[in-house]
Symmetry: C2
Subunit: 464 residues, 2 copies
Amino acid sequence: MPMCEDGFFDYLREVDCSNVEVYAVPEGSVVFPKVPLMRVEGPVSIVQLLETPFVNLVNYASLVTTNAARHRLVAGKSKTLLEFGLRRAQGPDGGMSASKYCYIGGFDATSNVAAGKLFGIPLRGTHSHAFVSSFMSPDEILDRALLSHDGSSTCKDFVRLVQSWLSKLQRTGLLRGVFGETNQSELAAFTSYALAFPNDFLALVDTYDVMKSGIPNFCAVALALNDLGYKARGIRLDSGDLAYLSFEARNIFHAIEKEFNVAGFGKMTVTASNDLNEETLDALNKQGHEVDAFGIGTNLVTCYAQPALGCVFKLVEINNQPRIKLSEDVTKVSIPCKKRIFRLYGREGYALVDIMTGENEPPPTVGERILCRHPFSESKRAYVVPQHVEELLKCYWLGNSSKRREELPSLEKIRARCMQQLEQMRPDHMRRLNPTPYKVSVSGKLYDFIHFLWLSEAPVGELQ
Amino acid sequence: MPMCEDGFFDYLREVDCSNVEVYAVPEGSVVFPKVPLMRVEGPVSIVQLLETPFVNLVNYASLVTTNAARHRLVAGKSKTLLEFGLRRAQGPDGGMSASKYCYIGGFDATSNVAAGKLFGIPLRGTHSHAFVSSFMSPDEILDRALLSHDGSSTCKDFVRLVQSWLSKLQRTGLLRGVFGETNQSELAAFTSYALAFPNDFLALVDTYDVMKSGIPNFCAVALALNDLGYKARGIRLDSGDLAYLSFEARNIFHAIEKEFNVAGFGKMTVTASNDLNEETLDALNKQGHEVDAFGIGTNLVTCYAQPALGCVFKLVEINNQPRIKLSEDVTKVSIPCKKRIFRLYGREGYALVDIMTGENEPPPTVGERILCRHPFSESKRAYVVPQHVEELLKCYWLGNSSKRREELPSLEKIRARCMQQLEQMRPDHMRRLNPTPYKVSVSGKLYDFIHFLWLSEAPVGELQ
């Protein structure tokens, strides 16, 4: 089979983008079908080369950001959302894209350390199951001293302190019957972890048995840390009935707070993970639970519920001639012409409608009535009096021109824009079940032109 | 939220893998659940750092290779399969992984030019819809001369030759009534493409109307090329009823072969694309079609039907002590100990069973009966007399040791191994509906040990 000619790669090395202009909706914007995310202008040969890279870079990024935002909407604002997807992403770079765009979409942190390093995304995670089973017993821990949080004293044998707390828990009424002998590998792992990270003790409690071993071991270590002035962070549940286990754990934490007079122990963080997705978050919310943070991996980064977004590239104008791509399927008919796009906002601050206009039409004006037409359905049209008008396509590449182009904002700013944009959507557009479709329209002038062009290009059928 | 300490990155820079050994099933092997794909040995802190990279690199690669192989099985050996997925992959690197592993899984070529350049994968594709609509009419074509294939003569106006063929087609009985005026943008695009690539003329015929415009325009250009000794490659259908259109196109190609006495014109390649997947390939096969090549993108690279593979990393032994990870869910219980794995083949050359043994057990021997036990189900066991024994885990990294390790084979060799391994599977294991499960077993000795360890680790319940 033929390969590519070497000369093509030489040509690619010399590609000159000084006559290319790129306009795009700012990253972190809420966007709708039919509205162009980018407008690329320039010599046709160059612009066609840009098609695949742009579509590749936009599709997955937009998909996973949307997926993250959907998880955030279901989880609610008060929960911490952790992206745990690196192992299931499409290779290392797929994993980096996932971490970056999940953060933009509203996640709080990632377990992908490289993404933390490169993008400044907050890092969160726990130790692994393998860390727990790599220990045999607390006897293996040789370095047992721990300086107290305020530096005023040193506990010479932290392992012993943990063991004495475990005995105390066993003897008290509140945990009697819950556990007999806890797993000693696990106890050793937790103790060792706490010695290394006394300020960040977050234990994965399901390697053996959550109620009989994981939680008692965790509490013993957390109480020992408390004696030295440290606050444990909490537990992570990675299997079983997460709602039930979170309630049980919370009850024990509250009982310990009361029994041993440890302020705040009842508010210990409960993190849950294990194949979570929008549906399981929704079900947990409906059932009630005591989870504070969710770690979500596979379903988030692979966008399991809908693994592909179908953004495409269309030629809409060449040499000042509008172009249209027809299709039997009306949703695949492209909207011709170089266009401007405006988002019109109403009195309450919500976005009302997006409108596309030809490049040379007067833009919509605040307080002035404008007709917004459905691009293909003749009878669907509405007058709108915008209270605020936002032009969506901003210039991000202007070739050689010295005209001003947009600065590329920081990741934090992009994330903030995404959060703010979601707030500006009317709640009925955002609900999970039967959302009201958001309207995407064209100006009256553009409507007429589309339909003129469509008729002139489409072949006339013949009935025989 | 806390970030990672800088010192950790300094530590990573100095990580020393000279005491790590990595054993793995060779790339391109058929593998089954429960059988370790890799065995990693070394200092626990280093090996735990390797967990995420290895799991990341193995999961998607194995998933997409499997998906490609499944598409190949459905399509059959005689069809050409083209990977068209770059635009839907997880960023540029996700796209490169997809192209590489789809090729290993049995695809013939990719439209990802960078993957062709880097990995030597054959390249195939067509022009875009935008290329077609970027032309207005054949008058735009200025450089109209085309040297004949044998170099003996030059056609000074190839555009005119094409137009005369189009008129001839219009006048002949065989296409009369099929088309009136074809689209002139499309005719210009096809003509221009043929002038640039007279040996590789493959036209995307659905920009306007396949039957009324795309196919007549294609035929006119192909016949003009034929006059100059070139053979057109064929057409690509990217929408509509692919089975129906392929039959119609084939009929026209045969009629032209006969009418104008153009040998081989009837065998013109028909390529089909448009959201194809295993199910649509299967449905097309059942219905009958005249497609020679399939271009598959979204469903292939995103593994839409099952977007994640859940390979995980388990600690199975530390300091010569076996470790087990228990779970309420028996499919999540890990098989302890450092193990060897053998594939046993039967008289007909098919793989019969995989068997895991402890490291120090005598390996299975050709012609000698061996007991293969289901790892968890007591009653499931079988004696096997292998005709051929293959040890699956080969050494690919041996730290500082001077012992021999496997060479990394070329991509072509990995692909050939994959094809050969699939041939060695009994057909009933490979059928789409209700396949016979392939057996994965452990030796009697390992079976006994797993169950001894399980009982000693699992907490005893208390009924009250």
